[in-house]
Amino acid sequence: MLFTHLAALLPLNTLGHYLHWHFIDISVANFVVVVLMVVTFILALVLPFPGRRRRREHQ
């Protein structure tokens, strides 16, 4: 029952939504994945890695 209610929040059995910009056509789902990859890439560069400061102090 819980899964049915959750599935109702994100209906997947419908036509896809697309973004159009000049010659670029991309589905909203794919666009969201690309944005998430860019965000992940930036976070991977700026977030401190656990234990790095401790190792530097140790050295």
Binding site: V33, L36, M37, T40, F41, A44, L45, F49, R56
Partner: protein, 211 residues
């Protein structure tokens, strides 16, 4: 047979060459350079972890077949596991690719490492596309008829027929997974042989951290 005769055997010569190329402490290192302590370096191993789940879930799907993965709740779960592990696999591989591209990871004699990564990426795309054709549902029928026009336009349609379910299934579950796994293994071995590429500003840094 004397000791020198034994040393001349091809097995001994190959062993000596392999150990010289990749000593055990470099094959399975205890430490890595300090610059590896960054989140950008975790996406290669994330990709391999996802590939492991892809292979295992794919083997489970192969054991039980389409009626199971379409008709039972456990089958649907494993089917979804296969799909989402592929999503994580490509997500991680693309972030890994961006990281290595901006590091110019082909520096220092690492061109072959870079190129094996490129070929692995292309092989994985072919594996994913043939996977779409093997779902055995209306989605795969639609995709195969659309892909047929594209493949025919390249001239390869006579040899690689996306409407041929048997051929596409064999490519998806035999040839392409074997190629992807072997290329990944070669890619990792080359990383071990040449070491992780250093950042531009830290070429001289030599201290190491626990792996």
């Amino acid at each position: 047979m004397s000791y020198s005769d034994l040393e001349r055997q091809w097995t001994a010569r190959v062993r000596r060459r392999l150990v010289r190329l990749l000593p055990p402490e470099r094959l399975l290192p205890d430490t890595q350079p300090t610059y590896v302590s960054s989140w950008i370096y975790v996406f290669g191993v994330t990709t391999m972890a996802a590939l492991t789940v892809v292979i295992v879930s794919g083997c489970l799907l192969a054991l039980r077949g389409p009626q199971w993965w379409h008709g039972s709740s456990v089958g649907l779960f494993v089917n979804s596991l296969h799909l989402w592990s592929v999503e994580i696999f490509f997500f991680s591989m693309v972030v890994h690719l961006w990281g290595k591209f901006f590091m110019a990871a082909w520096r220092g004699g690492r061109a072959l490492t870079w190129m094996t990564g490129v070929v692995t990426f292309l092989t994985s795309i072919a594996a994913a596309f043939t996977g779409y054709l093997c779902q055995s549902n209306f989605d795969s029928q639609w995709i195969s008829t659309q892909a047929k026009d594209g493949i025919d336009a390249t001239g390869a349609g006579a040899y690689w027929n996306v409407l041929n379910m048997g051929q596409m299934l064999m490519w998806h579950i035999v040839l392409l997974p074997i190629a992807a796994v072997l290329l990944t293994a070669l890619h990792v071995l080359l990383v071990r042989v040449k070491g992780v590429v250093p950042p531009f500003e830290e070429k001289s840094e030599t201290s190491e951290v626990t792996a």
